[in-house]
Subunit: 344 residues, 4 copies
């Protein structure tokens, strides 16, 4: 079976990761690429200044870049992936859904909307049920599904694994790679020999998205999880891979060994791009490290380490590749789930 | 008045900072420098491969490096500063104190001993009273005074300012510069495009030293503060300046503005190297940043920023220059306090 | 004596260096600052996101930013410094000169024009004679004087010192800091764990500007030096300080010691911002290094090292602070020369 | 066919690359690993702190590390690879050759000896003829073959391709990655925000090894090439990949297009680890870049770019992965050549 996909915002840093990940995908086939109007009509090779460290796929390189609008897309696409800037996404994605397209989107717009599934397949695949609510309320033939922010997705699978111990409150500090801000988001003058202690909107995203992801959907209605998350987000001079220090307060009092076991026992998703084990836990307290461990599971496995019992629960570190597991790969995985569950 | 000082471990990264800071000190005059036996007999210029970004002071450059032992030091020194490796400090510092020297030490040995003052002049100058206890118990003519670890000293003055609101529990994550590990402590292969999530012993130091610094000394007896500190310590690719994300749980419920006010109101120390205001608070959430702000107050002022009220208290960032305020400058300041209080 | 200066393009990376350098200048007083029309009317504090590691001078912070045009400037300015983008400079600088202003400019436009002095005070102060030619040909009351590109200015004083040995051909490779591209010129994604082997137009600038700087002016007419310069320019992950590897082919056959002597003997300029000795030569082959040596002479001294005789001449390294000696400081020095020689 | 190989100095940075490269080699099978006496008896997993970004091969992880001496090695090895420190190599390699082992070595000792082949399979495979001379003169049953220094090997294949135009003189400046100095060779304090303009012995290696590699072997006798090479070697803050700026003076006057053609026409070696095309030439002057291009051809292809005609010849850049093509991969390739030519 082949699923013909369109790639919205295909020339940016995340867009290029989509192209790289989809290059040898077992079922998805890139059939259209879009970018800003400036680039429309150019070849993908010319429009995207290719910066990924594998060669540009030749089949995509010669594709003509289209505008990002329902009219400019071919009719026979089965699925769209979106890494549009959120302001553009906010405008175009609803038009596309109304026109009947199913969109798996990495853009931040509407992530917290009550009728939009915000999904990680290993955490809350059943939230796709919200699509029914969405179609009813919005009168769409298509559907809009979101994946969370890269800093959220690094942590939430670990929280999902800990929820069995009564997840109460979380403090988290992030050390985020520059690629999370896009290709030009962080200048070298800002970050060499430095750390940036503020990423606009990032802390709020972690605090709110986590509660939605860990929440439940019953009869098409969303309930947020009650966990209280406080985040401090920092940008550091690494290229890829967000490392996060988590302090979790738990109702129960599991040992570090029990937490280790719980983290490694999170159920895998049976999807082509999903790692066989969602979370790998290191015994060595010096791991995970961004450069050494971000590519575990082709960039889709989350790593954890540094488990230590505290007075009120457990502290640990977690790591994920922010533009693969945290962005393009997250959308691809949601796309695979949409196919698996029959929405595509 | 001139105070003749000896510098123990003068050739390392912190030792060079001592030389730089003392070069134009109003009262302290370097009269002797020591290093490991390998270097004894060499000129300081040859023994210390000078790497600080100001020229080597000519007067010190031609001094002959001595061994680090009571016998090798001149008799007429008034005060010793120590940045010895802690294993060496553990052996030599007691011998020197027994021989009558007053030692202001940055080395980590004995920091938590009940009769050794662990002091930040703006926080707990009265802990010097422990010197009486120390002399009684150990039979010393000299005295041993310690400053805390660089990661601790960055945070504790801010906690001292918050204690008026009932300091209950603290979660802190650090983003520490490579100079904190000494000149050769972190290789370039380890840290370029990377973060190291573990610094041996660092988290325990922050958790225990904080309680001692914020504790009280009555009748020569030390009581620890009851605050519960949980720390996660990371090494990042910056040269100097430790940035820390603090989440403080407070009994009271001050506004961010009240916390801002409290931080800037911490009493200054009336000592030559002390900044006029110990803590500067930025309104701009993007500050403080290590490279831009570490040299405030000649590297002795602590910066804070990113204040935000949380459900249980306040979160904020703080920053200090780790080899000045956090090491050499901390010892110099304690030395000035020892002079001021008549111990020297 | 006070000289009232206007600063064109005052909010960029080089503009901020101008403000920093002029803050405590003995004679120059900033009386006006300009920026792009977007910023006009704002305070300098708001328009310039201040990123230099010393505090923003309070007197300048509250100045109102003006547009960059003759009409928008006060009449009583004695001198203008320009760090405009070259396309803007090409348009506005002639208008200002026609309106009677004397402009000392760091912008690259018209650097190679035959009637525009391209000057380094220690190398070719007499090229200011071209101002007469310029006024005659262009009918200006004012004057336009340029300093060379930052990569050129690092090398040319050393070549000037070697010219006594018959300078024949030069091969040079540069390792240039990111600040040379302006605050946003090099993204972190481009340069972390990387080197960029191409800087648009830079090699040609080094090859042509060198010949003009080393050339002669007789009777108001310029003759280029005959030296053949081949340059390879690279961007590396350092913040400030261009390091250059030079291979100079000479007609004569001086020893490394003679070259050392010649480099250190280049005549100093008797101007407030000029270093007492233009070039410092290190014996240690590991120096100069950008981070350790860029601030020698307050960023105005050039360093050299690694001298080694070759079959055809001499190889050595040289280093200068690219935004001080190589940009803002270069213009300030030319401004001081213009005052000294009576053009202002 | 399976060739049983021993790996001398298997735990260092280059040693780990050997293990990684040989993990799925079609013919070579690691049968023994050695390290310094301290590690002898430990498992490879414990002795080598594994830092490569692919998992440690399980089969090797459990091997017991041996001492590096003829007595400690099994008798049934067909070939040894050596990445010993040169002082150790100088002592042990001759003992091993005397004991009958064939050694393909990356260590720098004896590279310039007249009877030791210094070989790059695409450049001078016939230099293996020197083994006859070596055996005669030294009375060995085994053989010692060397590959050149990592900075040399990046450039020499390009020079070999240019020799048809009459290679006369070369100026080269290198921008070398930190991994070239071994895991602990460059500290983070040295290189962050900096460049090191000196690498001990490196320039001489480039200048002498190039002449041997490009020279000829007739009747078992070596003649050096007459090209005059002048090198300036710099360390920059990149992890892997040496970039070099070459200025080649040629007797003939080829166009840039002819040089492009010549570089891409260098004959490939028909060996398992050899790239199908030894040198790839970019038209884009911004390439090659270390991070983007070092892994071309699994780290074995050399890249070139930035071709520009000069008065006396051609300037261009070249790049190779310094620990693959420039070290472990170079030795493996020589090992494959030794097998192919029947020496093993």
């Amino acid at each position: 079976m082949s699923v013909r996909v369109g790639l919205l915002g295909a020339t940016g840093a995340v867009g290029q990761r989509f192209v790289q990940l989809l290059d040898d995908h077992p079922t998805f086939e890139i059939a259209a690429v879009t970018a800003s109007p400036d680039s429309a009509g150019e070849s993908y090779r010319d429009a995207a200044k290719w910066r990924v460290d594998t060669p540009i796929p030749e089949g995509i390189a010669e594709m003509t870049v289209r505008e990002t609008s329902p009219d400019a897309l071919p009719d026979d696409l089965d699925l769209l992936f979106s890494s549009l800037p959120s302001s553009v996404g906010a405008e175009v994605e609803p038009e596309l859904c109304e026109a009947g397209y199913v969109v798996s989107s990495n853009s931040s717009n509407e992530r917290m909307a009550e009728d939009v599934p915000l999904t990680i397949p290993e955490v809350n695949p059943d939230h796709l049920d919200l699509i029914e609510t969405q179609r009813e309320q919005r009168g769409w033939d298509g559907a809009l599904v979101k994946n969370p922010n890269c800093s959220t997705i690094t942590m939430v699978p670990t929280l999902a694994a800990l929820d069995q111990f009564g997840l109460d409150r979380v403090h988290v500090a992030t050390l985020q790679a520059v690629s999370g801000a896009g290709y030009s988001g962080v200048t070298s003058m800002e970050i060499i020999d430095n750390v940036l202690p503020h990423i606009g909107g990032e802390e709020e995203k972690m605090e709110t998205e986590s509660r939605k992801l860990l929440g439940s959907v019953d009869d098409g209605e969303l309930s947020l999880h009650e966990v209280d998350v406080s985040a401090s987000c920092n940008r550091v001079p690494s290229l890829d891979g967000h490392l996060e220090n988590v302090f979790a307060e738990l109702d129960e009092d599991p040992s570090a060994a029990e937490v280790h076991e719980a983290l490694e026992s999170l159920d895998a998703a049976d999807l082509p791009s999903a790692p066989g084990q969602p979370i790998h836990v290191f015994d060595d307290p010096e791991r995970p490290q961004p450069r050494l461990d971000r590519m575990r599971g082709k960039g889709m496995q989350i790593s954890a380490g540094g488990l230590r019992e505290t007075a009120e629960g457990i502290r640990y570190n977690c790591l994920a590749h922010n533009t693969i597991r945290g962005a393009a790969g997250a959308s691809v995985l949601n796309g695979e789930l949409l196919v698996e569950d029959g929405w595509v």
